[in-house]
Each structure stands twice: as structure tokens, then as C-alpha cells.
Symmetry: D3
Subunit: 332 residues, 6 copies
């Protein structure tokens, strides 16, 4: 039984959900991972308006689409981040207000709790998203960054997210952090630290996305093996290292899509992610959730790409062996 393949709607928020749902269904997707921006899934309306969620459900049903997870990357980012003007562009006015950093962080923390509540009402058990980080910007250790500085960053994460996770628990909803540079966890080691910081909270796990590991040279399979019971959701997204000796893996403050970058996101199947070993690893840990295509490629028409990616991942996904099987031969 292959897994359902869904489309993450975050990069399509310029399209009304109705229109996007029609397209996605037509291409053959099994469902959508709804972004909490655009009109795709609006937390405030979902809680305030009793008709909102039934209406969304009808819309999806009409197109034969399931929803296994909703995603709140933008609000989540603002929970721990030092807030600057860039954050204004990713938040609605009701959360930004006067832009006072601590006020923004606290409003976003409350919004995350509301997101769990809305998910519960919607019948979805997984919320994916970002956490932000007070120490990402101290990545390269100059001026010297001490272990205390780092520890402080993880304590800040703990202080802000433990109460959120406790509320998630009450709702029976899990939070899947998309491990990603700019977040409290961006590789295996920092993911271990983040998990330790929240004392292995049962609602805290990961939205596995290999595209963020490729340019760090982290093997995505190692991530799955490190956290076999914490993979709550999986993204199908791809990236490619394109080093020439003249460019930098740090990407030189160049925009995505600039061919001079040392790495870039590409349509799933055209990058450096090897999907077969990932499928095997997901099979081994018993992951049964969706494979959700997060489509991002600055050089390709997105509708062409979404269809190609869907076909690619359907070809790669496979059922694990049902029989114990080795080099042996059965006699008789």
C-alpha cells in the first residue's frame, strides 16, 4: 500500500484554495497539506466561525482530497526569533501590531496554541512549522560565542515552546518542526539538543524534509534513523549542490534561482536527494503518513513541476517486503 501523496499549499497561497484544489485533484494528488496563510487555512476564522471548518471540509471532499496536516511556518518562526522588519512581511496585521519584538513573539506563541485547537476541530493531528531561534545568527563563532550563549538559546526555546506543546497535548495534536537553517534545529545534532530541551515532550517531533540537509551534506537517512519515533510528517522537496570552485556553499547572499549560488532548491527528482534509501528508511521506522510535495524551483513552471514531482514520488514509493527474505533459497 503506497502512501498518500499530498501537495503542501504554502507556495500556492496566491491561488484561492478552491482553484488550487481543483488543479491538484486534476493532477492526481491524494490530498493537501494546508498552509495557515492565504485563504487556505485561517486559524482565527476556524475558531471564530463555526461554519468555516465544515466549509473547508466540503471543499476538499468535493475534489476527493484528504488533509493529513496543516502547517504554520510563518507564525512559528516568530516565536523565538529576534524580530526585525522582515518578520512584518510574513505576519498578518493582527499579530504584528506595533512590531514590538517581545509582543510579537508572545502573540505568535498564543497563535500556535490556537492553531492546535483549530487543527483538532478540523480533525487533523499534525501541525507542521518552524520555531525560530534566538541564536541562529550566532552560527559562525565570531565574536567568540560561548557554550553558555548557545545553551541560553536552547533555554529560550524551551521556555517559549514547552507551554505551547503542553497545550498541543491537551488537544491531542503533534507539532512537527521542519528542521531547517534559521530554526532552533537544523541538523541531527541540534535536533537532538532541541528534543532534549523540551525533555522529549511527546508532542514534539519533526516534519522530515531532506532538501534542507543536502546542502549541509547531512545524509537524510541518518536523520530518520536518529529519530525513528519522531518523524510525524514528511516533505518531498529537493535541492542540489552546484559548487564550481568559484562559488560558496553559503550561497553568497544571492537569491534563490541565481545560478551562481552554491546550492538551490529544484523540483523533486531533479536534485541530489536519493529517494530510494529514504523510502526504505521510512518503511523501516513504520512511517505511514503522507509524502507531501513542497514544490519550489525558481527555474521551472510550477504546474509542470508539481505534476512531474507527483509522478516521480509515486514511482519511488514502494511497499516493504512482507516476507523474511535473505540470500537463502527455500528448498522443497
Amino acid at each position: 500500500m503506497p502512501r498518500p501523496v499530498t501537495l503542501f499549499t504554502g507556495q500556492w497561497a496566491d491561488l484561492p484554495l478552491e482553484r488550487l484544489a481543483g488543479k491538484a485533484a486534476g493532477w492526481g494528488f491524494d490530498g493537501l497539506e494546508l498552509a495557515c496563510w492565504g485563504d487556505h487555512f485561517e486559524v482565527d476564522k476556524a475558531l471564530a466561525d463555526d461554519g468555516y471548518i465544515p466549509e473547508k471540509k466540503r471543499l476538499l471532499e468535493k475534489h476527493g482530497l484528504a488533509c493529513h496536516a496543516i502547517s504554520s511556518h510563518l507564525v512559528g518562526q516568530c516565536v523565538c526569533d529576534p524580530i526585525d522588519k522582515r518578520h512584518q512581511s510574513i505576519l498578518p496585521e493582527r499579530l504584528w501590531q506595533d512590531g514590538d519584538p517581545e509582543g510579537v513573539r508572545q502573540r505568535c506563541a498564543r497563535e500556535m496554541i490556537d492553531t492546535a485547537r483549530a487543527a483538532k476541530r478540523f480533525g487533523v493531528e499534525t501541525v507542521n512549522g518552524f520555531t525560530g531561534s534566538s541564536i541562529w545568527s550566532k552560527l559562525y563563532f565570531f565574536p567568540p560565542t560561548s557554550r553558555e550563549d548557545i545553551e541560553e538559546g536552547f533555554q529560550d526555546f524551551r521556555k517559549r515552546w514547552l507551554p505551547i506543546l503542553d497545550e498541543f497535548k491537551k488537544e491531542g495534536v503533534r507539532f512537527g518542526l521542519e528542521v531547517h537553517p534559521t530554526e532552533i534545529a537544523y541538523d541531527i545534532i541540534t535536533a537532538e539538543w532541541a528534543l532534549a530541551a523540551v525533555e522529549g515532550h511527546p508532542q514534539f517531533g519533526f516534519n522530515f524534509d531532506p532538501s534542507h540537509f543536502i546542502h549541509q551534506f547531512v545524509d537524510p537517512v541518518r536523520f530518520i534513523e536518529a529519530f525513528p519515533d519522531r518523524i510525524f510528517h514528511a516533505h518531498v522537496k529537493d535541492s542540489r549542490v552546484q559548487l564550481t570552485g568559484s562559488n560558496s556553499i553559503l550561497a553568497s547572499h544571492l537569491d534563490f534561482g541565481d545560478p551562481r549560488r552554491g546550492w538551490d532548491f529544484v523540483s523533486p527528482g531533479r536534485g541530489d536527494v536519493e529517494w530510494d534509501p529514504i523510502i526504505r528508511a521510512l518503511n523501516r521506522i513504520g512511517y505511514q503518513g503522507p509524502l507531501s510535495i513542497e514544490w519550489e524551483d525558481s527555474g521551472m513552471d510550477r504546474e509542470f513541476g508539481a505534476r512531474e514531482a507527483l509522478e516521480m514520488i509515486r514511482g519511488e514509493d514502494f511497499t516493504p517486503s512482507k516476507v523474511a527474505f535473505d540470500a537463502a533459497f527455500s528448498k522443497k
Copy 2:
């Protein structure tokens, strides 16, 4: 005629200069690149006390050591950086004072000008250092960082450093930025942008240091070829990529010396820097300055390492060909 080999004193500032000079001379170094911290080269005293510079010169002469450059990385870092508590640890009290960010930046800018004046008095034409950067922390583009955000960072650099460079020009002293993550320029592309930001100011160039390119996968030779007339000074420092599939090239907020890091600094000659092509490139551009060993290796005794590095670079450095020479054979 091989180039002089000097020792950068920055990582030895716990030793009084007198003691370090004795050691370095004993190991066979030709000179020292004096750090503007510890008692190695104190800008304020050099300008205030007429006996300071003659005394330093005597000290070096006594040991048969030359000085081709002084270095002010710590103060330079504070000119453009968003100032936080980490900066307090790298500044003297007279520059930190109340720690107000803009005040710190301006005091450090003035100190850089004084550094050029002191260098002039000392008879040294090159000051190496850092510049800081208001945008380094926006490296990975989330929340979305616009081209305007980036451009603003380079304008800030221009605004703060052009006046400094003009004062350098009056003194006939050049500033060599050590291209380095956390600085306004950390690779070839950002170095081009930085040079453009200061309109190709004649006093602005680079302290070439290959160790900062290795973990970015930038070929150090390409850097030299990109800026043939801007290599004002050269560091001999080495680093090593040690990726395993489980760790990240971003180094996971781990301390230098932690074996889990994706890369680390190692004693020159034991890392991934290939010195022969660098020597050839320096020969081609006619660089005649010192090869200055900046020794940093968290796993090795520094005195053992400094001697080994000196022997290594003397073996690698060579005189270019004096004759036009190709596959041809002279007949008769």
C-alpha cells in the same frame, strides 16, 4: 628569493611580546604580524607615548624580526556589527564604555583611523582586519530577505568605511580585509560587492586567508585570480572538511576542536589547503609580501605546530621561473 615567513601574534596574546618574539626568532621566523591586542601593539599608547614605537622596534630588532603588517580584527569587527554582549569580550573598556551599539561602532571606527596613524609611525603600510557586517545574520534567507535588505547592508558598510579608508589614504596605509564569514565579504562574490561598495578605493584590499574558503568549497586560487591587485597580505592558515554524513558543514553550533564539527581549523599543512597552486598564483600576480602563519588548531600543542608550519611553508614557497619556458627545446 623566497618570501619572508612571519607569525601572526593574535593567538599568542597571552604571552608578552618579549617572550613570544624570543620563541619565534628561535624557531626561525623572519618576522611578526603584530596583533593590536595584548601588549603586542597598542594603538592608544603608540599615539600617546613617543617612546612606545621605538621600544617595539628595538624589541623586534633585538630578535632579528621584521614587521610587515599589524592587525586589528577585533576593533574592525565592531565597526559594522549589530553589537551584542559577545563584543564586550573582545573590546577594551575604553571602546566598549556603556555598550550602546551605535556608540561602540563609532568609537571603533575612530580607533581604526588611529590604527592607520600608528601603523604609519611604526613604518608599516598594511593594517589587516575585519569589518563586521550588519547583514551576516541574514545569511539564510528566511524570513525572506530582499535584495534591498542586502543592498542596505553594503551601503552601511560603505557609509562607515569610506571615511576610514580616506584617512588611511592620507597616511599611505592600506587596509586588508580578511575575507571571512561574519564579515561584509566572505567569498568571491561578496568581495566583489564590497569592493564596488567602496568604489574600488585604492586603500581597500584583502588579507588573503585560504582557511576561510575551504569549508565554503571556494578554490583559494580563484580568489587570488579575481583580485590580482588587491592582495595586500597573505595568511598561512589551514582548515579541513570532515563530513561524515551525520554532521553538517554548518558545524552545528559546536566549538572549534569538537570532532563532530563538519569542518575545523588545523595546523597549516595538515588540512585541505593545497599550497603549491597558491604559491603559483601569488607568483603570477607578483605578490612579494610575507607569508604570515596564523596558527590555530584546537587539537595540537601550538609550539609544536608553529614550528611544523614554518618548515612546511618554507618547503612549499618557491621562486618563479626566470626564463620563458615551455615544451620547447633549444637547439644547437
Copy 3:
């Protein structure tokens, strides 16, 4: 004219041939390579019961399936091996009996001769299989293994197999050794020695299977080129090297399918075998026989895999050029 694609039935012996034939035909296979175990092809019955072979033929014809070869790996293995309890699990009772090593070896040698006779009656000219080896276990030379020890092993092979091959000759049937660790020949050099040991006997050749070369780092094309007139049959089977620095190419006594192994078998097309150069090499030597899928992958459902593998190899197989053709252009 592409080659027929067959399915080797050895890993499906838990299914009655009738059922397997129905499935294979449904998936589009052109034929079956029948294993001499399970009920797929029973040598004793084929010789004792005049109705057995006609019945098998009818069964295959009913499904439109051809049979180009039968395979007797298990019995062949016991001809030269030092016999231990593991061999009991791969032999029928009538060959094992009291398990006395020499007795087992001789009964299995006679069974191989019978296999040739049954093949002849069945109208099949190729029997694939293993040979066993008295010296495989002395692979790594400690305690010191002398050339005499090795030579003795090949003499043992000669002594036991020459009489078998002579009987094959009488029947006009060829034996194709699947070159494989644990056999007298497992790479190019040992295959040359084995061929020499039987004095280049015309009935002795190879069942080419690239999956056993990949983890030895032997290029499968070199094997084909080394024995152009001895490739009697070809398996389509794949394997993958999955070294991490922590695991061993020797596979650590771990079971197939354990992700910690340094290499493993995977579904054809998902491993390290490059099929295009193999097809070209088979074209060059004029191999016209079947491409027989030996499907083995501990992590994948075998029915999913068999179909995928069939599609893969049909896409890779191609007809050689019929015209002399080079960079030239024909004029006029």
C-alpha cells in the same frame, strides 16, 4: 530484436509453479528460469515419471512462457563444499541422508549429472548453478595459506566436476556457473583459474550475474570481455554498496536487509549496476540468450519489484547497430 526476459523462480519456490506462472505471465514475462527446488523442476521426478516433463511443458505453454534454462544452485553447492549443518537445510532428504560429508558430495555430483539428463529431456540446453569450494573459507590468508593449499582446492574442483562436465557433454547440455563468493570462482581471476582447472571444457561457462561483482568492485563489463564465448546465461540482479565509514564491505555477519551492512542486494535498477554498458558488452559478444531477473531485495514487496524490474530491463535492452557507423557522414 530485444532479448527475452525471464524470471528466475528460485526466490518464489514457496509458490506452486502453476500460481507463479500465472502471475509472471500476467506481468509480461517471456519465460521462466526454473529452479530445481520447490515443485518448479524436480530432477528425480523428471527422470522417473514420463508424464512429468510433458506436464511442465503444457503448464508453461498455457501461460505463453518459454524456458531457456533450469538452475540447480543448491545441489551444485554441495559438490565441493566442506559440508556442515547449513547444507542440510538446502538439500532434500534423499541427498542428505546421514549427512556424511563425502557421501553428500558424491550424491550431489550424481544429481548434477541427472540434472543434465533431465534438462535434455526438457529440451533445455543450459543448467545454471553453483559448484561449492573446498577453499572459500581460506579466503583471508591467516593462518598463512600457501599456493599449494589454493592449488589443492582447484584440483579438488577439477576432480569432482570434470566427470560431471563430461556427462553434460554427452547430453549436449552446458553448465553455467554463477560466479559468486562461496564458489570456486567469484571474480575474474578465479574464473580464469577455474576454467583452466577443467582444461577449458566446452560445457563449462558462466551464468553472468553482475550483483556479485558490485560489492567486490569488479566491473561487470570486464567479466564479459574476459569470457566472451563462455557467457551461457545472464541474470538481471542488482546490488548496492552502502558504506558509511562505520560499516564494512565484508558486511559484519549481518543479515541481508540489515541497513548496517556495507552492501546489499536491491531490486534491479535501484542498485549500482549500470545496465547500459552491460547490454553493449552482451551485444558485442553476440549473446542472444535471455535476461533472467533474479529478484532479491529484503526491503521491497517482491511482486511490486518484479514488475518494476521487468519494465526497467526492457527499457535498457536494445538492438545493436546494424550499420557500420562512426563520426562519419555519408556524402551525396
Copy 4:
């Protein structure tokens, strides 16, 4: 809007165009790139016989095939080459005549001008081809080849081709040199020199063909980026490096198709060319012309191959993104 895919007819000149057109249309090609040999496109008849071109057009229309370019590699080759007996085999009698080298070169130069005229009448704006080179044979510098020798070769190219290009200009037809060993330009550097030699003549550009770069280890994308406004046409042709340590990248004077060669041409999609980055580069420079399959593989049936190559490139070609798109998410 994907690009049209055409078939270059040069390697099919043994087939009458009528027959080839039927086949190509049946396989699904959008058009043909007609070779100026065989009966595919005969320059002399096109100019002498008023019915010739309308007849060709009718033939193509009948099969629903377009023609975006015609190609004259054989005649072009003879414009600059030192002429030897090999050239006789690629020229019609009317151009070879007595074979006097300078006479051949001048007749071929005039034929190239006629080719532009015929193209114009045919309604085609691009003529692809070779130039020949008086210095290719001096590639490896022994006996010592001076810069003057090389410069002389480029002057010879300029002297012979500038008049041709001027005539092309009159006709509004462009010449696309297929950069290729044996030509005046065979890599990026020599292409720059060739362009400079004809003073950046607006009719002079390139028929991009990655297969000639692979075995030189030149990245095809770099070629496109070096000449963004000079890519007049593009070939889909593939090659493969097959070095073993025993053979040479120079190919040992072995015929194409000999497996001992260090590299060889293979059917598009089976070689070392990476098509995705090429499509992206062509998208970036706005190339809208055809992707023309030049099919050459000494080991594969050409009809099998042409169909496979067509399917491959259709799968690789894609529309660029219509929206500015980066890691950002649109809010609201």
C-alpha cells in the same frame, strides 16, 4: 511551451528524405534539421531549379514537419582545412574537382555563400556547420608551436570567413558553428578567440552541442553562459567518458564504437551529459529554438535510439517559472 524537437538528418543520408520524413513524423518529431548532403537539401539544385524548394516544403508539410535550420558541416570543413584525401570522401565531385587544396577551399567558401542563399529561399534563418582549421593539427605543441603560429591560424579563419559572413548578413541568415575538435573553435577559450577574430560579426554564433565538451571535461553550461546571445541552435547529442586506466582520453586512433576508446558518442540520455542544467541555462538566455537530436551511437540500432532520445528530451525540457519565486511564502 516546450521547444520543438527536431531530428538532424546527417546520419540518415543513406535514406531518401521522403522515407526518413515518414519515419520521423511517425516517431513524433516536430521537424527536421536538413543536412546539405544526400538528397536532403541540395544547395546547387535549390538555386538552379525553381521547383526544388517548393517540392521540399510540400514533402515536409505532408508529414507535418517543420524545418528550423539546414546544416552544411562537410563543405564548411573544407573552407579552412589543409586538404587531404579524406576530404575527397566528404565532398561532391563538383567541389572536389582536381583536389588542389586552395581550389577546394575557395570552391567550398563560395558554396557556403550559396548555402545561405538557398536557406533564405527556403525560409530558414540558420545554417549550422563546421569551419575547418589550419591549426588543429598543431594542437599538441611539439615541435614548439608559437603564439604567432596560432594567431596565423585565426587570421586565416578570419580572412576566409568574414566575406562569407558578410554575404550571410545580406541574406539575413546566421551561421552556427558547431564547436568541435578539428574546428577553429573547440572549447570556450577558442570560441572566444574565433568570435574575436571575426570582430563579433552579428551573423556568427554557435550550434551548441554538449557531446563535444564532455570528453574535454568542459561543462556545457559554462559554454552557454559564456555566449548567451550567440546560441543560434542546439543539438541534443551525448557522449560518455569510459576511462579505465589502460586507455586514453585521446582515444588511441581507435574507431568510434570500439570499447577500448577513452570516450565515445552514445544515444542521448545514456551518456554523461546532464540535461536538466542545460535546459535551465537555455531558459535563462531565452533560447527558443529547436532541440535537434543528432543521433550517433555505434552500438545501438538508430531507429530504436531516435525514438528513445525523443522521449528523453521531451521529459527533460520544461517551461521556466513565470513568477518571481524564492524561499518566500506569500502571506495573507
Copy 5:
């Protein structure tokens, strides 16, 4: 303080110890690791003759040589191995006797206990050696080897070695298994199993030897990191992978020194072992013991090689950093 460099005498047992000691001292070695064969260290005599050990000590002292470990690979091998005629060649008559396998194994087990006693008398706390293995020959799993078969092998090891280790404990002597194909442990995973089989016995650890990991593609540093408190001794021995596509990593039953082998031992410093990371790892775990050169290279004169290896490892070995040291700079 660099570590002492010793010479393992096993490959020099054709020389009387007196003569070898003179040579080794002359070349500059700090000590010898005495082999328990030849006249280098005879366990039976050491226990039977009260003058034997004082005489050995005098001999070493005369040449200024220390002894940190003795080694008993040959006898150790016979404790668990299935005994065949090859074992006769490595045992003295008194241990071989009638060659009955179980008798040989038990005599050798008792000899190992005596070896600990002799070591104690000699003032040496480490005995290095092999263990043998009842399951090495079942490495490649055909006929199918079950987990029970493997487990049985480790139980056999446990049964035979636990009593030996208990006697070692009484003497205060440790046993360092040289992890090596043919032994119960040959890589990291099997070493973990072996350690578990003897319940983490405090006297059981490893004689680290990287040459046996190279051809398995195991990173020697990972081994050190896996067993930081079990590295009892370290060999300096090197090997080289020399795969060509025509040969096998399994080495084809070819003799050491045959250039067709897929790997071979070479003089330390000329192989694929990277010594710098090993030295760093040994520094991190606080290993203070000797670096003992086990010299083996079938292509080089051993006296030339021993001297070269000594010089190589002295150049690689270095003292760890005595100060906490990172990218930081000390101010003031």
C-alpha cells in the same frame, strides 16, 4: 611529550632478538613489542627458567629499549579456530602434538593464561593477540547462515575466552585483540558483539591496527571513538586499496605482494591510512601507550622500510593542545 615508538618483532622472528635489538636501537626506536615466537619471548622458558626474564631485560636495557607489550597472535588464533593443517605451521610441537582440533584449542587456551603470567613476571601489562573464530568461514551467507549460527560462534568465543580473561585479571594483565578478518571481531559491529559476549570484561580490549580497516572501508577513527576506554595498544601498519575494475577487494586468493590483489599491506606512510586524524583521536581518548610499528610490505626491503616508517610516525605524532583554544582572540 610524543609517544614512544616501538617495533613489533613478529615479522623479524628469523633474526635472533639480540641482533634485531641492535638494529632497532640503531635506527632510533624507543622499544620493542616482543612476539611470542622465534627466540623473542618464549612463554614456556619464561615460566620455567628463572634466569630467562632477567636476561631479556638486560638485553633490552643494553640497547636502551623499553618493552610495553608482548604479542601472542599465533597461539591466540588457535583458541577458537576450526583447526586445520595450516595451524600446524604456526604452532610449536608442544602445542600441536597430535593435532586433534579440540586438544589443540585447549592447549592454546592454557598457553594464553601462561602468557599472562609470563608478562606479569616480565613487568608488562599488555598482551596483544588474536582469538580465532569458529564462524569466520561462514562470512558470506551461503548456504544460508542463520542468526543462531552466528550467535553460536560468539558463545563459543565467550566460553573459551572468559576463563582466560579471568586469569588475566588475576595477573593484572590486559588482552588486546587485534581486530582483523579471521578473528571473532574484524570491524566495529563485531567488536561490539565480542565485547558484549565477554560481558565487557575489564581485561578485554583492543590492539588498534588501522591496516585491517582500510580494505573494509571502515574509518579507523570511528573505531577509536567507538571504544575510547578499550584501546590498550596501537599498531602503526598501513594498507592500500588498489582496485582497477578488473580485480576484487576480496583479493582473489592471491598472495600478499601480488600486484593483482585489490588491496595490500604497504610500508606505513605509503598507504591509505591517514595518520593525523588517528593521532587526534588517540589524543582525545587520552591514549598514552606506544605507537608500535608492525612492518609488512612485500615489495620493499624491510630495513629500509622500518627506518622510513619510524621517521614518518615521529613526524605525525604530536602533543595535544594544552590550552582551551578556539577561534577566539584574547583581548587586552
Copy 6:
């Protein structure tokens, strides 16, 4: 007993032999390989003037230098080449005369015979050199080069060189072709063809020089193994592949020393040649002749380089093992 290390004088012909000999002896060379140009070894004078050779001998003896071979690359090149103006620059007037190609070729053929005679008188048994080639310039097969064309080239070589080799035989002197692009043989395959063309003439063999194989990706060890009894002499010369994706392995008609070339010669020890495997291969075939440094590096002072190269090769050269030696240990 390490081999003698000599200096090939070809690249030093601007220095009178007297002066060069003094330098070389001072640097520690054991001998000189004299070039037959400059005043180093003049064939015409050696035959015409009875005092010439004794005088040369005295000169060498005075400096303690041996001579194992003389070299005549320039004259040899003109035996088979199509002669053009470049050849004038490498020939003395007496051989060039009117420059008529066939005349030049025949005069040079006679000069080669005289060279053998002079070598004999000088007491030297090996003459190294080039052969030229009538087909080198047809390397890349366009216009199509037939097998007949190639065969003709080898017949031309045979026709011109067999008579020369017969004269060599009379003198007891051997000819060592330096296998090299531009010659009749430039890799293993063409060397086999050349040897076959002269029917395995006993005086015909090779001056092994790995620097010409590196940029062809030919493994120098394979060359030695292919011709174990034909390695008459060995050059120590190095080259380096420096591909960037923007440049070509064909080197773009760029001068040696231009950093844009895809490969270049560099001082021995600084390139891609691995000397250890070469020394082992020379040991295996029993080569006892000199290691002759042909020093060529357009980026390095040649006197610095010659000394460094001498030290490098002395460190790499080693005596083969005198004892049969494998993984075994001697017991007792």
C-alpha cells in the same frame, strides 16, 4: 641499492655542458642524460673528431658524473613527421638545408643511425628519442579517418625505422621511444601497434615517462606492466590535471605555463604522478637503469626545482624486498 638519479640536459641546453655538469654534481646528481643538442652531445663532431668523446668523458669524470643514455628527440621527431616550418627551429642547418620534407626526413633518419654509432663510441647503450608520426594530426577522426589511413601511418613508421633499428642492432645500441602525443605511440594501445609494426625488433623499446600519461588518464603502472621487457630508460617528470569545468583537457592551444590550460607539466613531486606504485612496478620488472629527471615547470625556478626533484625521487626510490614475505609469521 637505489638506482642512480640523473639529470636530462635537454632543458638546460642554453648552458654549456661544463657549467651544467658543475651545478648538477653540486646538487648531488649521479649522472647526466646528455641531449644531442647545444654542446652537450654533438653527433657529427663525435664521429668526425677523435678527441671529442674522450674530452666529454673527462668532463663528466671530473664531476663524478656517469652517463647512461643520450637523447635525440629533435632529430627523431623529423623522421616520420610531415615537415613544416616549426621543424626548422629544432634542426641544425646541416639537416634542414632546403627544408624539402622528404629530404629532411631522410637526412634525419641517417642522423639517427649516426647517433647510435656515436653512442657506441661513447660507451652508452641507450639512445632515447622521438619518432615523429605521419598520422598524429589525424587524431580526432574528422573528416572520417579510416583504418587504412591509420595502418598507412604505422607502415610509414615501419618503413622508416626498421632500417634504423637494424643499424642500432649492429652497434649494440637500443632505441627508447619516449611515448608522447605527437609520436607514433602515445599510449598503451598505440605502443603495442608500434612494437608490432617493427615486428618486436629487439632494439626497440621505451623511455618511460609518466608525465605524458597523466593528462591522458592512462595509469603509468599499466604501461610498465604492458611492456616489462621494453622499458629501456625512465624519466622522472610530472604533470598535473587542472580542470575547472571552464577549460579543456586538450589545453586550448594555450602555452605551457598558462594557468587556463587543462593540464600542465610541474616539477616532479608536485603533480599527479604517484611515484610509489611506479617504483614498485619498476622493481617488479627488474629495471635497474637510471631515474632521469626531465625537469620542466613553467612556474618555478629550474635550479630550485631540480634540487627539490632530486630529493623527492631519492626519498621515493627503494630497494625491493629480499625475502619472500607475506602475512605469515615465522614460528619458533
